[in-house]
């Protein structure tokens, strides 16, 4: 019995040594993507972030990824396999991976996980997202100035705080420069479905919208606007510059590279700790795509000034006085919204004539 035990210990020791010898000093960083890397929007930008990590660290890192991972039962397996493959740090880049990420993280305490756009964390799971609403404020300003029909169309994805926040931020800043502006909102119930997005854009244009904002990732609304003529749009997630200078007059660009590089560095240093990160224009996580010449120079200058004030923190996109849709006071004069309220935002601000689809 004793002999067996010592034999087993010996085997374990050798196995352990072999394991240690195999683990070279390269840091392995893994990415789980919800779409194909060539989607031109959300996943494309996350993959750009992966390439930024490779660029920054050269042969000190190895990146691996799996694309088009469904958000159902397959996600947990994909993440587990990535941890088994020896990843030191894993980014799971879609909201639907949240519970799967936490479940796998529990089984691999030595591996660090980063989940995008969720709200849960644990000892080895951070979450991160971007303050896209800052970009929406800039879009709202341009939209309010540019609309001739005073009707702005908005293609919304799902009625979750992230999307509602975007609608509010855009509306507040459109209204500020154009008191007569009206928002028409269509819920597409998808993040990426060119057919549905094109239908939504056409319906909005038929209802008189000459500016289309979108919270969906395909370029179909841009194509629909181009066909209709005299309608302007904004790139979403990715610059969508191929539709410039018009209909695409500007864009919100997700820029994950700097964050991915910083977190990889932290794992290399051993300084990684679980955090919740919510960065905006200032930290470079949200980029405002070049405002095209289709926008008059004075409007462009104002929009850029707004961008810069959001960037240096001198202005907050949700600054009072602001009322909720039902007329009750939300923020008093000069007061700014706290992150908790923003994170769970489930109401429209005063003036939006629509209802959030009821839960």
């Amino acid at each position: 019995m004793r002999a067996l035990k010592s034999l087993l210990t010996g085997v374990a020791l050798v196995a352990g040594l072999a394991g240690a010898a195999q683990a070279d000093d390269k840091t392995k960083v893994g990415f789980i993507f919800v779409g194909p890397v060539g989607d031109g929007g959300w996943t494309y930008e996350h993959n750009q972030g992966r390439l930024a990590v490779e660029e920054a660290f050269g042969d000190k890192v190895e990146t691996i990824y799996q694309e088009s991972v469904p958000e159902g039962a397959d996600a947990e397996r994909a993440i587990t396999q990535m941890a088994l493959a020896g990843a030191d740090l894993i980014f799971t880049t879609s909201f639907g991976y949240m519970d799967a990420t936490l479940a796998v993280a529990e089984k691999f305490p030595a591996v660090k996980f980063e989940h995008a756009t969720g709200y849960k964390t644990s000892d080895n799971v951070s979450n991160y997202s971007a303050r896209f609403y800052e970009g929406r404020a800039v879009q709202g300003h341009i939209a309010g100035k540019m609309t001739k029909t005073n009707t702005v169309g908005y293609i919304a994805s799902f009625p979750i705080p992230e999307v509602i926040r975007g609608i509010n931020a855009a509306y507040i800043h459109a209204k500020k420069v154009n008191p007569d502006v009206q928002f028409k909102i269509i819920w597409a119930y998808t993040w990426f479905d060119p057919t549905k997005e094109a239908d939504a854009a056409k319906a909005l244009i038929e209802q008189g919208a000459d500016v289309i904002l979108q919270h969906t990732d395909s370029t179909a609304p841009q194509a629909a606007a181009k066909e209709a003529g005299n309608v302007i749009t904004f790139g979403q997630a990715s610059d969508m510059a191929e539709y410039g200078p018009s209909p695409r007059v500007s864009s919100i660009i997700d820029n994950w590279g700097p964050y991915y590089v910083a977190r990889t560095q932290a794992v290399m240093d051993g300084s990684w700790a679980s955090v919740s990160t919510w960065d905006g224009i200032g930290a470079g996580m949200v980029g405002i795509g070049e405002i095209s010449d289709a926008v008059p120079a004075d409007v462009k200058a104002e929009a850029e000034a707004l961008r810069d004030s959001l960037s240096d923190g001198s202005y907050h996109a949700f600054t009072g006085p602001l009322n909720k849709q039902d007329g009750s006071v939300w923020l008093a004069e000069g007061e700014t919204a706290d992150d908790g309220t923003l994170a769970g935002m489930n109401f429209y601000v005063e003036g939006i004539e629509a209802e959030i689809p009821s839960n």
Partner: protein, 364 residues
């Protein structure tokens, strides 16, 4: 002058030898064609093929995790394909298993969540019944429309998939939404609800109730088809509908039986998946199992044992494909191509079952 020629000659009856050999040949042909594709993509073809077919089973790091995962991935495919195969044999074409899978998941999850957070041993069995009922009821729509009004069950069942998807989107952000979910779509996670969680029965084996039911379904279908009158009627209707009517088969009842059983099994598969591996009802919870199962049914020659093996093979290519992405950086699209090749070769080689190839030397 004598000229060699190649002739296809129809066999009087399908060859048993080729019926069992062609799947193996198809796999080998896929390995060769796939290897060429991987080589063209700049990857080592031998290593790619080994990663897909060998590593999920025997890799020292991945094997212990992947082997049980094969069962987890294959179980819903087998469960659905068994049900479909009965219909396909009788010429009843249920193409909408995906919709029945979704409705089973919704009904099963709804029953479970209604009791949250009660701990009672009866909750899980009730969820299984509700799941089966959901799938059955959804399949009865094309069933009744076909038997009452003569509509085409292929179209109706397929269209109902889209209706089911809309229902899924609706309940994930309405009726079944997690009240503690900060307004995000999706139900509570069954992981946090032990009475309703479809847990691993023996740790490290991947064996959950869905796997158990898949095995039971295989045995049940085997016995039904070989030993039972109803199974005989199913086969007879598919092979000779007129003869079946003379033999006293009631076509209405047979259509309803075939659609009902495939719907119930698909519904159960959905329920096992939502309460276990997936863990929660979400907007895009379904990932095409209902459609993939059609391929599995044909890959397995509509035979219960064949379906069991086909389901496992399909799971192997999925998991192996994931490993190939991970280890070799193969794009996901290349893996889908590879799976497509498998289907193509399988169907192409079907010819050998029904035809004989003759080389002759002819005088021209």
């Amino acid at each position: 002058m004598i000229r060699p020629s190649l002739i296809l000659e129809k066999r009087p009856s399908p060859s048993r030898f080729w019926a069992t050999t062609t799947p193996v040949l198809a796999v080998i042909a896929t390995m060769i064609a796939g290897g060429i594709m991987f080589w063209a993509l700049g990857k080592d073809p031998i290593e790619s093929i080994r990663t897909i077919f060998w590593d999920p089973l025997f890799h020292e790091t991945f094997g212990p995790y992947s082997r049980p995962q094969l069962l987890v991935k294959a179980a819903p495919l087998i469960l659905i394909a068994i049900g479909l195969s009965l219909g396909f044999r009788a010429g009843v074409w249920n193409i909408g298993a995906e919709g029945q899978y979704i409705m089973g998941a919704i009904c099963g999850a709804a029953v479970g969540l209604a009791f949250y957070p009660t701990e009672n041993i009866l909750i899980f069995p009730a969820m299984i019944l509700a799941g089966a009922f959901g799938g059955w009821a959804w399949a009865m729509i094309p069933g009744l429309l076909k038997t009452r009004f003569g509509t085409n069950e292929i179209l109706v069942s397929l269209m109902l998939v889209y209706v089911a998807e809309a229902a899924l989107a609706s309940v994930s952000q309405g009726l079944l939404q997690n009240p503690d979910g900060m307004g995000f779509p999706g139900s509570r996670n069954f992981r946090d609800f032990p009475a309703a969680y479809n847990t691993e029965l023996i740790t490290g084996t991947g064996m959950h109730w869905g796997v158990v039911f898949a095995f039971i379904a295989v045995i049940f279908a085997y016995v039904l088809l070989t030993r039972h009158m109803l199974g005989f009627h199913v086969r007879l209707t598919g092979q000779a509908p007129r003869a079946a009517r003379f033999a006293g088969v009631n076509p209405t009842r047979l259509v309803l039986f075939c659609l009902g059983i495939s719907g119930a099994l698909a519904g159960m598969a959905g329920m096992f998946e939502v309460s276990g591996p997936a863990g929660q009802v979400t907007i895009d919870f379904n990932s095409g199992y209902g459609f993939t199962a059609i391929i599995v049914a044909f890959l397995g020659r509509l035979h219960p044992i064949g379906i069991l093996l086909a389901g496992l093979l399909m799971a192997l290519t999925y998991i192996g494909g994931e490993l190939a992405q991970l280890m070799l950086g193969l794009p996901a699209a290349a893996i889908q191509m590879f799976q497509g090749m498998l289907m193509f070769f399988l169907l192409a080689m079907d010819m050998l079952t029904n035809y004989r190839i003759r080389f002759t030397l002819k005088n021209a």
